[in-house]
């Protein structure tokens, strides 16, 4: 049976089944993952970052490029409740950022992004939750407005944005990264939303927060933590990529 991943691979010109690692063959120590997502979707971007950080090869397909009706019918077979993005590894499929991030973290070549200490885990989850539940709607509003022209109350959104960035700035006062001196899930979540805000043309709001600026510089140049010669941040789409529907795949060269 041809599933949606195969259709998307075909559309993207990535159907070379002889490619090592496709269709259940192993590439070095891993399968090649396949991701269905969209460049404007923060959850898709989190998966790209995680794959980069953990050194997991991943072919990415932009679902926006598939005709809506055809996509919906096929997509429902993979994700009956519309949870996105979706990941395939050989004969295994799963949907949702929570599932995919945990999967990549467990499968990947690097150490887990989650700390071992209970208090640090709690703090990581706290700041991740603030990002996902409180900060995300603001970032999504701004990028949707920039790309799709969605209307809304700018003043309210900017005021919220300043509140959260100020809180993040305080949190970063004594740490290299958000929780401690190690990169954790909290950094990954905040990276995607701040990237979307910057891409939407509002980097001036970030520039007001000294500690956030210092953290952001580190994030943009940080080498993948699994030791590959890769900066995960560079996998994220530019405004032009988002507009043209270009989603980067993760390729690992230096095994």
């Amino acid at each position: 049976m041809t599933d949606l991943f195969e259709k998307m691979a075909s559309q993207a010109g990535m159907v070379d089944t002889s490619q090592y690692g496709m269709s259940g063959d192993m590439k070095k120590t891993q399968y090649i993952l396949e991701l269905l997502g969209a460049p404007i979707d923060a959850n898709t971007l989190k998966c790209l970052l995680a794959a980069g950080e953990q050194g997991m090869e991943m072919n990415s397909y932009n679902t926006d490029k598939m005709a809506a009706e055809e996509f919906q019918a096929e997509f429902k077979k993979i994700s009956p409740f519309g949870i996105t993005p979706c990941l395939k590894e050989a004969d295994f499929m799963v949907c949702g950022a929570k599932a995919i991030l945990a999967f990549i973290d467990a499968r990947g070549l690097g150490y887990s992004l989650s700390p071992l200490n209970a208090a640090l885990v709690a703090m990581q989850n706290y700041w991740s939750d603030i990002a996902v539940k409180q900060f995300a709607p603001v970032a999504e509003y701004l990028i949707n407005k920039k790309v799709k022209g969605t209307a809304g109350n700018d003043a309210e959104q900017f005021s919220m944005l300043e509140l959260y960035l100020s809180a993040l700035n305080d949190q970063l006062r004594n740490n290299k990264y958000i929780i401690c001196d190690k990169y954790t899930w909290a950094d990954l979540h905040w990276t995607t939303y701040i990237h979307l805000i910057v891409v939407a043309g509002h980097s001036d709001l970030i520039d007001k927060q000294k500690n956030v600026v210092a953290w952001w510089k580190k994030i943009k140049t940080k080498k993948s933590q699994c030791g590959q010669d890769l900066v995960a941040y560079e996998l994220l789409p530019s405004l032009d990529d988002i507009r043209t529907g270009r989603l980067q795949s993760v390729e690992i060269q230096d095994y």
């Binding site: 009956p80 409740f81 949870i83 990941l87 590894e89 295994f92 799963v94 949907c95 949702g96 950022a97 929570k98 599932a99 995919i100 991030l101 945990a102 999967f103 467990a106 499968r107 071992l116 200490n117 209970a118 208090a119 885990v121 709690a122 703090m123 990581q124 989850n125 706290y126 991740s128 939750d129 603030i130 409180q134 919220m160 509140l163 959260y164 100020s166 809180a167």
Partner: protein
């Protein structure tokens, strides 16, 4: 003091868990702690009595902060933070599948509950069909094995918490579910007397 803060203290007391009655997130914390045999001083409140500077600064409602844990020098809020803490604290093994695929499936079912079912519960009457569809999917999943995924995971704890909160309110939706009762028996093995711990605080 904010909702994630530290203060000095030398006293050794069990961590305090402040819960909200009839609240899915509070129930998740109690069930996980019970499964892991953690000694907690559990109390119930409708609103946090803590200073809420951070909560105010982030424009959160005070009741959003519950459940809360106070453990010696640490105070923390938000269920995700508490569950992470409770799953590591103490000597019992964490509920954490070793296999990546099981871990992913566990999180899929948790996301289905958190992002798809819970918003529908704000208007149970109006969303009866959608709630029923999701519960039917869980029931179908439970027909495969004793737990939601292939071993006891956090997905079971999350769904048990939700089930105990909504059971009374959605009787119509629960009627055709045939695999839940067997699953509840398995839950009793994993979390002995869970109903007694929560019953006075369910609607």
């Amino acid at each position: 003091m904010g909702f994630f803060s530290r203060k000095r203290s030398n006293k050794k007391q069990p961590p305090k868990l402040i819960c909200k009655p009839n609240d899915i997130n509070s129930f998740k914390c109690i069930l996980l702690a019970a499964h892991r045999n953690l000694d907690l001083d559990i109390s119930w409140s409708e609103a946090s009595a803590l200073d809420s500077n951070l909560s105010n600064s982030l424009d959160l409602e005070e009741t959003d902060s519950l459940p809360i844990i106070e453990d010696r020098n640490i105070t923390m809020s938000r269920a995700e933070a508490l569950l992470g803490y409770l799953n590591i604290k103490g000597g019992a093994p964490a509920v954490h599948p070793r296999k990546a695929r099981i871990l992913a499936q566990q999180n899929y079912w948790i996301e289905l509950l958190d992002d798809k079912l819970e918003p529908l519960l704000l208007d149970i009457e109006g969303n009866k069909d959608a709630i029923s569809t999701i519960l039917a999917a869980v029931d179908k999943q439970l027909s495969i094995g004793p737990f939601i995924v292939s071993e006891f995971t956090l997905a079971d704890i999350h769904w048990l918490a939700a089930y105990l909160v909504i059971e009374e309110k959605i009787n119509d939706c629960l009627t055709p579910l045939i695999h839940f009762s067997a699953w509840l028996k398995h839950m009793q093995d994993k979390i002995p007397n869970y109903a007694e711990k929560l019953q006075p605080h369910t609607a």
